[in-house]
């Protein structure tokens, strides 16, 4: 399954007379909560006349919806599931949009002493050895999947009282981690948003495994006659368009002093690592 | 006069038991029917059936010759009647609005509502309470409000369930007077339940005695109160002296009954040897001193007896005599004082033969 590679996407076309004006974008809460979509979508709507309905839900929820044809386009960050989704013939075109990264956070005094570990897998192994509390999302979200990937890499099957599943979104999980003086894996956007009310420090970052990659996928109109293929296509193309990518690149600078996402349209997933 | 209501083969069941069983009852138009009877005899239930609030388990109710179809709307019938239930049921609003309830249901113009309600609140002596919340009214005031509510409807049929039970006596007397005049004037068919025999006497043109769910007797007040059709009715309407004995002589329409070794003369034709039940109303028993020279009176029965007990009963005295059987007499306070009756005093009890009512044969 290849990601989109055309840099020179044609300007998105408007809704055809016969087609629906409504485009349903199923996305994960992390993109939504950061406010990125609030910035991007009005632009798209005024340009094309489409009405976008961004539905922010869990990754699994978003993929399940799309598989039933209940969404026209997906913006998600769970590469393995996405590939599975494409293999099932549910998607038409999967294109790389942007990435940011995950990192491990924990109590500033770092009782498991993971600071300075060589990579994420080693850090998690130290957490396990110290029986320090680790809060897992436990919700099969992109973040959770990434965490599980790292555990696999560390060769540990986490279990025990120290390993707890919050079963909630990133924000809530971070708060719980802070309250319980535990460790967790978080995405950058959510962490930055909540940073001021957390008592957590970034303890390990910049491991290539910790990349958080977002793709846009147009839902296969063959799945359901109700799918708005033109609209889905237009939005997907808008996401990777040059101006959009510039907007993504600058998003968050004013608020956090650093961009939250790195635009990646046209790049190859492997060249990010 | 034609029949307003006709009830046929009526049976009302509660919890599987029959509470009202009436083979036939006709209520003429413009009739005033009083229903009396002991507690729990089904009076209120019958009234509910007549108000079409209760669908009987069996039988038919005909209104002006038409059998009621309970599956169709009963509203046209109900709009012609007004019911006052035994307990005053008032809404949590002003007395005026309560009294206006039925008129509002009929969408009468505001002016007319005001006129009628004010008129009736006035007549019932509660005009000054019109703005008061009806739940703060006293017992009697509530009952007046309920009456005002029903009467202001000027219905064709009035159904009243013990409407004066909570009224003080002067009000009740004057209200009954007023109502009587109104009913005479506008000819409203009225069925009313009461446990007050005198109300039934004054008010009813006919009286029905209900007992155990059945109408035991139906007739003019005179008939019911002077000629109770059976022992139970007699006991209920107040004929306290019920005596049984064998006919010892019979001639010229007069019978002599041998009761407890005493002879009682009554009017009627029976065979010698028959066992009769006699009923003598206490008001009809005259008491005179034993010593007095026998005066000429029309009283055929004169029994010697002894005073057992004297109880004041309002302006009267209830004197119980022992004439080998107990005989009760009601006499005025004056007579009581004049006769200076004391316990164990010997007296003569006298009563006319026409005052002895033969209820029936006992087997």
């Amino acid at each position: 399954c290849a990601s989109g590679s055309k840099q020179d996407t044609p300007p998105p076309s408007g809704p055809k007379e016969t087609g629906s004006k409504e485009v349903i974008l199923a996305t994960t809460t992390s993109t939504y909560d950061t406010g990125l979509l609030d910035m991007l979508l009005p632009e798209f709507q005024s340009k094309t006349g489409y009405l976008v309905k961004p539905i922010a839900v869990g990754t699994g929820h978003a993929l399940a919806m799309a598989a039933r044809g209940e969404a026209d386009v997906l913006l998600v960050h769970a590469p393995e599931d996405e590939e599975e989704f494409m293999r099932a013939g549910n998607g038409l075109d999967r294109r790389l949009v942007m990435h940011n990264d995950f990192f491990l956070v924990g109590p500033p005094d770092d009782p498991a002493n993971i600071k300075g570990s060589r990579n994420a897998a080693e850090a998690l192994a130290k957490v396990e050895q110290a029986r320090a509390i680790f809060i897992s999302r436990g919700d099969d979200s992109g973040t959770h999947k990434k965490e599980k990937e790292v555990w696999v890499k560390s060769g540990i099957k986490p279990s025990g009282a120290w390993y707890q599943e919050s079963g909630q979104g990133m924000g809530e999980t971070l708060i719980i981690t802070s309250e319980k003086r535990g460790y967790t894996l978080t995405d950058r956007g959510t962490y930055l948003a909540l940073k001021k009310s957390l008592n957590l420090a970034v303890l390990l970052e910049k491991d290539p495994i910790l990349l958080n990659i977002y793709h846009v996928i147009q839902v296969n109109p063959a799945k359901s006659p109700a799918v708005n293929s033109a609209g889905g296509k237009a939005l997907a193309e808008y996401m990777v368009a040059k101006e959009t990518q510039e907007l993504i690149g600058s998003f968050g600078v004013d608020k956090y002093g650093e961009p939250l996402f790195t635009p990646d349209a046209g790049k190859n997933e492997n060249e990010l690592k | 006069m034609s029949a307003m209501f006709e009830v046929r083969d009526l049976r009302v069941l509660y919890g599987g038991h029959p509470v009202v069983e009436i083979p036939r009852l006709t209520i003429e138009e413009e009739e005033v029917l009083a229903i009396i009877g002991p507690n729990g005899s089904g009076k209120s239930t019958l009234l509910r059936v007549l108000a079409l609030l209760e669908k009987p388990a069996e039988g038919q109710v005909c209104f002006k010759g038409q059998p009621i179809n309970y599956k169709r709307s009963l509203l046209p019938y109900r709009r012609r009647l007004a019911l006052v239930m035994q307990h005053p049921i008032l809404r949590n609003t002003s007395t005026f609005e309560n009294a206006a309830t039925g008129l509002r249901f009929r969408h009468l113009p505001e002016r007319e509502v005001k006129r009628r309600v004010s008129n009736w609140l006035n007549k019932l002596g509660i005009a000054h309470l019109d703005k008061r919340n009806a739940h703060t009214l006293s017992g009697g005031e509530s009952q007046r409000a309920c009456l005002a509510r029903a009467l202001s409807l000027e219905p064709d049929l009035l159904l009243l369930d013990e409407p004066f039970a909570a009224l003080d006596e002067p009000s009740r007397v004057s209200l009954i007077d007023d109502l009587q005049n109104i009913l005479n004037e506008v000819s409203v068919t009225t069925v009313f339940v009461t446990h007050d025999r005198s109300e039934a006497l004054i008010f009813g043109k006919k009286v029905a005695v209900m007992m155990g769910g059945r109408i035991q007797q139906l007739g003019t007040p005179e008939e019911v109160f002077s000629k109770p059709s059976n022992e139970a009715v007699a006991a209920f309407v107040g004929a306290d002296n019920i005596i049984s004995g064998l006919v010892s002589k019979a001639q010229n329409g007069l019978v002599s009954v041998d009761a407890h070794e005493r002879e009682i003369v009554a009017i009627g034709s029976y065979a010698v040897g028959e066992r009769l039940v006699l009923c003598i109303r206490p008001e009809d028993v005259v008491i005179e001193p034993y010593s007095s020279a026998a005066p000429i009176t029309s009283a055929r029965n004169k029994l010697k007896g002894r005073v057992v007990r004297c109880t004041p009963l309002g302006p009267q005295y209830r004197v119980v005599l022992d004439c080998d059987f107990p005989l009760v007499s009601l006499i005025s306070k004056q007579s009581f004082q004049e006769l200076s009756l004391v316990e164990r005093a010997e007296v003569i009890a006298s009563f006319k033969a026409s005052g002895v009512h033969i209820i029936g044969k006992r087997v």
């Binding site: 309905k53 961004p54 979104g169 924000g171 | 019911l83 609003t93 002003s94 008061r132 919340n133 009806a134």
Partner: protein, 233 residues
């Protein structure tokens, strides 16, 4: 604690400034929950009255069902309504998913059992002789019911408020069937969740306070209406 105080201050400013976004969210909250409550009144009060007044077989069972309905989790309601309203669902042709209409549908399902249950208890508690007396004064069926409702106005108001309170504060179902789309289906509760997720606890509390204020005002208005025209005690 400072967060709570911060919330109060922010609520004050949001309202005073009349922030158009916030105003829109308030408007939509009132519109959706108001309509849903109104519709559930039209479902719940008659149903509750029927259950209170008639003695059909299986009444006890129906009562248990209604009471159980009060415990219907909004998330499940949201999910089931979604399944029905999705484009592939049996009612997909209506195209009301992710619109205020869908939110009203979900909230009606949540509020109706509450309104039904409380109405039923309210009417059943009235003296049965009141009904008879009103019919015996010539009330039509509707007039009789109207009198019953007036007599039970306090518990019926409670039914109304419990229904309204249940849906205006509800988030699981509106989130799912409305989608929390800015300017379209975002209401106070979903906005609160969003702000909480963003870590803006102050704004979240401010929105919560606005919601409570709103419920309080609705309440005050209803109580006031209910008290009007009462006779002197």
């Amino acid at each position: 604690m400072d967060l709570i105080i911060d919330g109060i201050v922010q609520a004050f400013w949001l309202v005073v400034r009349g922030d158009p976004d916030v105003m829109r969210v308030i408007y939509l909250s009132l519109l959706v929950s108001g309509s849903a409550t109104l519709i559930s009144l039209f479902i719940g009060v008659p149903l509750g009255t029927l259950m209170a007044l008639s003695r059909f077989r299986g009444r006890g069972f129906t009562l248990s069902l209604v009471n159980t309905g009060m415990g219907m989790p909004p998330v499940v309601v949201g999910l089931v309504v979604s399944i029905l309203l999705w484009r592939s669902g049996p009612l997909g042709l209506l195209h009301i998913m992710y619109t205020p209409a869908a939110m009203v549908v979900a909230q009606v399902i949540i509020a109706s059992p509450i309104v039904t249950g409380i109405s039923m208890a309210a009417i059943a508690q009235l003296d049965p002789r009141l009904r008879m007396q009103m019919l015996g004064l010539g009330a039509s069926r509707w007039q009789m019911l109207w009198v019953l409702f007036q007599e039970a106005r306090l518990p019926l108001l409670t039914a109304l408020m419990a229904g309204f309170g249940g849906v205006i504060s509800e988030v699981g179902a509106v989130m799912m069937v409305g989608g929390n789309i800015k300017g379209q289906t975002r209401v106070l509760t979903t906005a609160t969740v969003l702000e909480t997720g963003r870590g803006e606890f102050g704004i979240a509390i401010a929105l919560g306070i606005i919601l409570l204020l709103l419920a309080y005002l609705v309440n005050l208005t209803l109580t006031h209406l209910q008290q009007q025209g009462r006779p002197q005690q």
